[in-house]
Assembly symmetry: D2
Homo-oligomer: 348 residues x 4
């Protein structure tokens, strides 16, 4: 297969660096174009970027010249790692110019005509794209992935959708890498918990309803479930953990629930997408797992780990879910989205 | 006032050391007797103890001779910091010998005739003591305080009891000091979360119902509320934080709820007990407080801090509560219990 | 005694907050004036300041109106917590206007006519002040305290000055609070060491020579010792630890060295200055002490703790020293400097 | 090539687990035999072992039956991860029975007839083996690798041996994984430094002299250099960092020193041993690198990273060195030793 050229908008920031790292050696996509703010343009990527990730900057990207975040010579597929303050304008300009914008930014996630895509959960939501094109008049399109805490929750819930999800009370224990760089001051988080992350609870509550909802053929209909989130930052580098109490329409037996987790498979696995984990949701039988430092990086950071499935005295069941926030919750999520779209022939 | 002599059972362990530290300079109680396991007896306290707390070992205790944990020459009031594996036998032996056993151990907490006392919440539960004496035939008595995570939850809920507590879904983020010494291996908790603490969820669920229940005159009747707890260990030294979603019988307005927290006062404040905080529950209006490292030690570690009071999409309200686990959740709790009993004339 | 009014320049920043906290309840000095940058002036201190220290903002300061950092209505004594980028100009303006500027900033520390004062070590360096006045033509004066890592080293060395200090190889393990707020990003220091602190090694090397040097009557003569420093940031909140290998002119016996530490006393102790620790250097006999989290806050954070005194295979002895960087290494150091000057009648 | 069967003594412990993990997929060696204490024998490895490393237990080892640590059916090459309390007896029994014991234990490191091998530094020390065989009368042999902190120091010094190493003052900042499991209690290290590791300074001082010494043909002659070590435990998971001040016989220019680091290569590279890093010592030009969390795992954890090379005011140069303590400092070190011996035809 001929490599498909891709670009990254906001490539010099932390999220952008995660895209650069995740795309390294990708079997389908080749990163040939990097865009950033004016301050960086015309410099080589290696000169414009303070590389903050573990391991060295990928050599094949180091010498790319940073471009302005404007359509023109960019490839058809662009991943957006732009800051929320500029993402609306930039992403729309690219869609208007015919690009497929696969965005990690929050700006368009809740738009009625934009898929909030998790390939294992709602591949059919891509059916809204013709309506997006019609309404917006764009030759291109915008597709988004969820917030990094939402992904752990919704992946963990995906196998339970069949039982009818009615109520959710969840608490997150989120890693510092979710706040970017410089992000969380060490004086705030060392030996401490910060029991607040601006806008996060609202995002988790709304995004979860949209992701787990249905595409009716005409519109994306949110799941009619009540969701309450408590979001906290803890002293962990990578990996968001969520405690989940859930009320279901049809309460399964414990064994059936565990089986539902372990047997869950979906579109990315059927299509054998290159970034798809073999098993998207992995149930850990140990009494004290999953744990962020020990488990988040397994399966290349693309799986969701669940554990501690037990009866909930208030609802039906309680359990925990873990996902790697900068991989499955950001760069890896967007790349998997692009793989699904490519595989489905949506990118011509 | 003549100082009242007191003893500590299990004085050389971590909880015992917290008792020793907390009793230093106490206006009513004077620590004159320390008991420990055979290995330590007949040694001076300073020779039998590896002191692990910040600050120096109190000089007036350093030279006490460690006694066996057997009644005999011990003072009337003994605080029990004994390990659960031996607490039942030791505490009962002291009660049988006429001592007032004020225990931090879990062994008798759920006994129907033993008060699980939080002076701000259920001072009237002491009314069960005559029945305890009658049933057990002890000239002495046993009174207990709750688990260190239960205390943060129940103190935070105390001002809401008037609104009728019906359902609770809570998640704890608990400090490592709650596990004693050596306790949690650093390889397990550094940059990590351990989403499991053996027996803790069951304790929180049961103890909360007992603490918030009523004394009918004849028996202690548990609160008929559903409680679901998710317990986690996080990389914090001192201070247990709890996220709380609560359903109430009568939902107050937001302002009335905040007022309920701020205006809450109880028996220890009325009686001006020496270890009682001026204001037992302190509402913090900042968007990201309370926090364990910054707030747990305020008010000598004896208050409960609450914050982030907001509507819950599933129940009525959600908020967070914080208490110092080794002070308000252990040694300080027991000492306040003893102060209340002394003040009420229950210790003759 | 009538309280002496004092002010703090740069009062809203982190170092400024440490001054505000340290001065709370001071027996001699009363904080009545707070200065900050233009952005904050005319606001109340509580409105201009995001309070970041443990415990609440002192009530008596909360309602002070923040002034511009310009002489005028400021009290005679002003503590300078101003940023290095503006400290030269501001401090000189105050000295020119007749104020006694007791500075924690680095700007004037190495000036030949400015004392780099550690009251336990070089009180006689204040003898340079008449020369400062003469050279600068200021009715006021500037006195400085050392960098927060230098203080642990020089306090630990003070008792050894009698043996002739010739060579020093030292490595610091410094707390994050030394970098202010937001300071060190958690992504940099969590589970990590940052083996570099800009300018710190040079400061430690030069300041140590000046502090341990002599006042000849005419000038401050640096100690003719070679000093090599390796500075590192570690995941500790408060307390800088230093490993020290030292070559001496006259090597004492081990017992004599320990005795030198334990018996060390100096001017602040003789004068019974209110912030002076009873024993400025405390030798800890345990094999693994001092430790930052367990020891730095003892003695109100004003003592230096040393330990692990043993033979050095390369030089004569090696040992470790610990001091609280934001107390003894910043606010407390400056306040003790002012107390010494007040006690010596240098502030008329 | 036919796979060479190997065994691990003490395979269920933490160091043993590191061997099991490191040997997974090894191109020459196949782990077919695991030995442990009596408690574990006759169980399957997966049942006898609480797996504590990141990632899953290697499937091909999980079903091996654990054997007693006695010669018999063990393969020729056995790696020793046994506890120091039993290593002397066990290792000697295996050597006596004809096995090549490649040991990570400290017990025989300083024996005059046992190589303390670092293949990049002293491959010629293997020349002492005939003497070992002669003296001990063993058909087998014992070869050791250094302590995990010594390895970072000696690898960092290897390129400087040519300049004549005379004096060293070093301070370590060591990771918690170096203490095994449960190892360091979190109450001791969280937000703290433990400035003492039992026996570590002596080991670093002696082992460094032996490793950097020469094989004269008849004996191993220690390097005649003075070494002083300060050892500290810090809140880092993996990676020991060392600050180094060094006096040399012939002081090179700065550029020549950097060149010496970067151009250093040795026997394992020439022989292209499978676990050998391409470049054994990697100089990092950034002002604040290497750092444990960001760099220790690069190059499969087998390289030594150095940085911050600068003039030392007391000696000639100072710099820092970092190595992965459980890989290059333990399991990986021993495996590389075995590879060298195999490549040299010493294992028949």
């Amino acid at each position: 297969m001929q490599p498909i050229e891709v670009g990254v908008l906001g490539a010099t920031g932390m999220v952008g660096q995660h895209f650069v790292k995740f795309l390294q050696g990708h079997p389908w996509f080749q990163l040939t174009w990097v865009g950033a703010s004016e301050r960086s343009t015309a410099k080589k990527y290696k000169d414009a970027t303070t590389w903050r990730l573990a391991g060295a900057m990928p050599a094949e990207v180091a010498d790319l010249t940073v471009e302005e975040c404007k359509p023109g010579n960019a490839p058809k597929i662009v991943f957006s790692a732009t800051d929320a303050s500029v993402a609306t304008e930039i992403e729309q300009a690219f869609a208007k110019a015919g690009h497929v914008v696969v965005s990690n930014s929050r700006n368009h996630r809740m738009d009625a005509d934009v898929p909030l895509l998790v390939p294992e959960i709602n591949a059919e939501h891509l059916g809204i794209l013709p309506k997006q094109r019609e309404l917006r008049g764009w030759p291109g399109m915008i597709v988004t992935n969820p917030n990094c805490s939402t992904i752990a929750l919704t992946m963990g819930l995906a196998p339970l959708k069949q039982f009818g999800i009615r109520k959710l009370v969840v608490t997150t224990l989120q890693a510092i890498s979710g706040a970017g760089y410089p992000g969380v001051p060490s004086m705030d988080i060392m030996g401490n918990v910060i029991p607040f992350i601006g806008g996060e609870e609202e995002k988790m509550q709304q995004e979860t309803q949209k992701i787990l909802g249905d595409f009716t053929g005409g519109e994306l209909r949110a799941l009619h479930a009540k969701v309450s989130a408590h979001c906290n930052r803890v002293a962990v580098v990578d990996g968001h953990l969520v405690t989940i109490s859930v009320e279901l329409e049809h309460k399964p037996k414990h064994d059936d629930l565990v089986h539902a987790f372990n047997s869950f498979t979906a579109e990315p696995q059927k299509r054998n997408l290159p970034s798809a984990p073999n098993q998207p949701v992995i149930y850990m039988p140990e009494k004290d797992r999953p744990q962020p430092r020990r488990d988040a990086e397994r399966e290349n950071g693309m799986a969701c780990f669940v554990g501690r499935v037990r009866e909930c005295p208030v609802f039906d069941y309680k359990f925990i879910a873990l996902a790697h926030n900068t991989v499955r919750g950001a760069a890896g999520a967007a790349v998997l989205n692009a793989e699904l779209m490519q595989s489905m022939g949506l990118i011509s």
